[in-house]
Symmetry: C2
Subunit: 450 residues, 2 copies
């Protein structure tokens, strides 16, 4: 009798304890996320817990033979249903593959497993006194596997680029269990197809990443954080784009709207400090003291020309950290401040810089006209921003309104020559939007099944 995939995996990997779980709670934890824009009724049939590349290969081979889907799972914080299991299948959790395998200080690179959390990697690099760090900064809960999968970025992208710029090589298990390594360890190469760039952002559809060598950057000597409120979103965004256009060196450039600033105040993480509840730019500066002073001076001048309503610095390192983490944790603050029964829809788009102010203002108006609570924040230096919509989850009408607001915003981004997602990825939530964005011929070229 043909054995089930689960039985076969358990049999072939019988020397490893708890290689498969079918515990209900475990299935739910892996197949469902309250922050996801996608809700499906199904769950994975099992969760696999491989310990190394060879075991991943074995599981892939067995699932391939039996046509059982695999859903790779690391941090689980993706927003567009990347970890959902609409066709059942096996969720593959890398929690046991969480080692920093090797830090090559002189080569400024690091070899890691997929379940390393980027914040832990940076803590480790700091505690070792390497003077190096990994500059991508998506949600603090994100892990390397998922960060590769979605081509993550975060607040540092305006200076350091996105995940695909930081991958030196990947070890990948293909659908049938074949193991390949994309490259050896050169920081730069023109040899053969850029498989790193192909797997980064492919959301687990082309293979499962089991190991990665990542570039590291030199930790700047100093940081400074400035907070600059404006009367209107338009002023704030215009000032931000001018800073970029002038080439003033900023390490990060974030926008938070008046609603988001209120939430920072309500959350209270920066108490006793209270911020003006206006559209606000957050600037991070990094480098030598001289560089910081000069950049700050330039930014001050530009923002004043756009009617800035103040220019305040974080007073010390503690306040810098608090302030930046208020930005970083803002999604969680929003989730925590929801009322009973409220749901949240988080989405992102990106557009050419010259359209950014317009799309933000129009999208906020649109949400307001639909009677929704929406707040906006974004990586304005990249033309990329997020809208978080809170709605009454018990009302199908409210859900439809939220859906409409998102759909309108995505359409607007595409009409402005932008993209339906700057960093969250497609998942199951934006499949239609992708088709709309790139068209049938391009989708057909992307198609694996042809």
């Amino acid at each position: 009798m043909r054995q089930s995939a689960i039985a076969q995996i358990e049999y072939e990997l019988r020397d490893t304890e708890d290689i498969i779980s079918t515990d209900d709670e475990d299935l739910k934890m892996h197949g469902f996320a309250e922050w996801s824009s996608v809700r499906v009724d199904t769950l994975p049939i099992a969760v696999a817990y491989p310990r190394n590349t060879e075991q991943v290969s074995t599981i892939a081979r067995i699932c391939h033979e039996r046509k059982v889907p695999i859903i790779p799972y690391s941090g689980g914080s993706s927003l567009e249903g990347h970890t959902a299991a609409p066709f059942g299948g096996i969720s593959m959790d890398f929690v046991y593959m969480n080692q920093i395998i090797k830090i090559n200080e002189d080569d400024m690179d690091v070899v890691v497993q997929p379940s390393v959390q980027w914040v832990d990697l940076n803590a480790q690099l700091k505690s070792m006194g390497t003077g190096l760090f990994f500059p991508m900064d998506p949600a603090p809960s994100a892990k390397i596997g998922g960060m590769i999968s979605t081509n993550c970025s975060g607040t540092n992208a305006v200076h350091y680029g996105t995940m695909r710029d930081w991958v030196i090589n990947l070890t990948v298990v293909l659908a049938d269990g074949t193991v390949i390594k994309t490259r050896k360890r050169p920081r730069k190469s023109s040899a053969g197809y850029n498989l790193n760039g192909l797997f980064v952002g492919s959301e687990g559809t082309l293979g499962i990443v089991t190991e990665a060598t990542l570039k590291l950057a030199v930790l700047p000597e100093n940081y400074s954080v400035a907070v600059v409120p404006f009367n209107t979103i338009h002023d704030a965004v215009s000032a931000a784009t001018k800073v970029i256009r002038r080439g003033v060196p900023v390490a990060a450039l974030e926008l938070m709207d008046e609603t988001q600033m209120r939430i920072v105040n309500e959350g209270g993480v920066t108490r006793p400090r209270v911020w003006q509840e206006k559209p606000t730019l957050f600037f991070k500066f990094s480098g030598s003291k001289l560089m910081l002073e000069e950049a700050i001076q330039n930014v001050k001048q530009i923002t004043e020309a756009y009617g800035s309503q103040g220019f305040e610095f974080a007073r010390d390192e503690r306040e810098q950290t608090l302030l930046w983490s208020a930005r970083k944790e803002s999604l969680y603050s929003l989730l925590a401040l929801r009322k009973e029964g409220e749901e949240m829809w988080n989405t992102d788009v990106a557009v050419p810089l010259s359209h950014l102010a317009d799309i933000i203002v129009t999208s906020k108006q649109d949400a307001a006209a639909l009677g929704l609570n929406a707040c906006v924040k974004g990586h304005v230096g990249d033309g990329n921003f997020h809208e978080n919509i809170t709605y009454d989850g018990t009302s199908p009408e409210e859900y439809e309104k939220a859906k409409k607001a998102v759909k309108n915003m995505v359409q607007r981004a595409i009409d402005m020559e932008g993209t339906c997602t700057g960093e969250h990825g497609i998942g199951f939530g934006k499949k239609e939007a992708l088709q709309q964005e790139v068209g049938n011929a391009t989708i057909s070229f992307m198609s694996v099944d042809k």
Copy 2:
């Protein structure tokens, strides 16, 4: 009767004059290059001169139906036989598709056709006073099509990355004539597979690029160029890697060995100035005056610790340009200074930073032991360097020696976890090396024909 591809192209595109050339000189100019490492006995059977994407599509469809190879041709300056026609076929020269279609100043991007020369693009951006530039700088003769095809870089890569970091979207004609566009115009996106990253560096094997939108960078306010000689290659490379490891902001960091410095002196472009004929680092600094001063101070300190034999600046903008162009044009100087009958083999590899000094020194020794004249220069900030070997082209033994020196160096790079090419690409010259570098499983994944 089934028509030939040439006749069919001439018929379908009969409204366009000179769409096809079969002139002998033309065929030779397209199929042969004296600077190429690859010599084949065949030439293309024709050269096609399309005027737009639609015509490229028509030609591709006709060639696809008749299984006639197409070899896209733009600057023709690639080194590994990229434009050679070992299977005959049609060379497709984009010389008529040389327009800068649109400069979007506010979005900091530009839409171009494949035959735009990067130096012309920068001249245009300068004359318009945009304050923007395109920072990739391969050989001055290179054009956008080939730059995309090989994932080019050049001396600015240590600061600005490589070609794949600068592509926003591509219009590509696939083998069967289908036209796709990879994206709209966002500077950042996580929507779908990263087709930009796949086509960049694919050397015309996946499709023909007929239009590209490229990011532009803000032109730095000031530049400075410093020349720092050392007693040994080892000292020079160690100093260079320390500069990178400390995070001192340099716009470029180039090494030229004693032979290459002699050639600069002999070439005489920087007369009356004469340089020490020692292993020498060239630093380019860019940014505000303050940033320059600080970076120069730091570099001075670091290079002194490695026994630098001086620290000279280009005295003015003219000297800066001359000096940098001496570096940029060094291949042409070498070609011009060859004796009757001499040939040159130009190759490049890249390794992790910590191996760079060793591989350069060993490769120079190896070439010397084989009785060859070899000089080395490189983008040391990226672990990438070039060896130019001059040999007697009339002697098969000398050719074999040069081949051996290159093969040894490539093997050494691979053994040190590096790559067989940092920026020149594979072409026909490094197909075996690629197989050796990434192994059969990875090659098989790359294979289009499976």
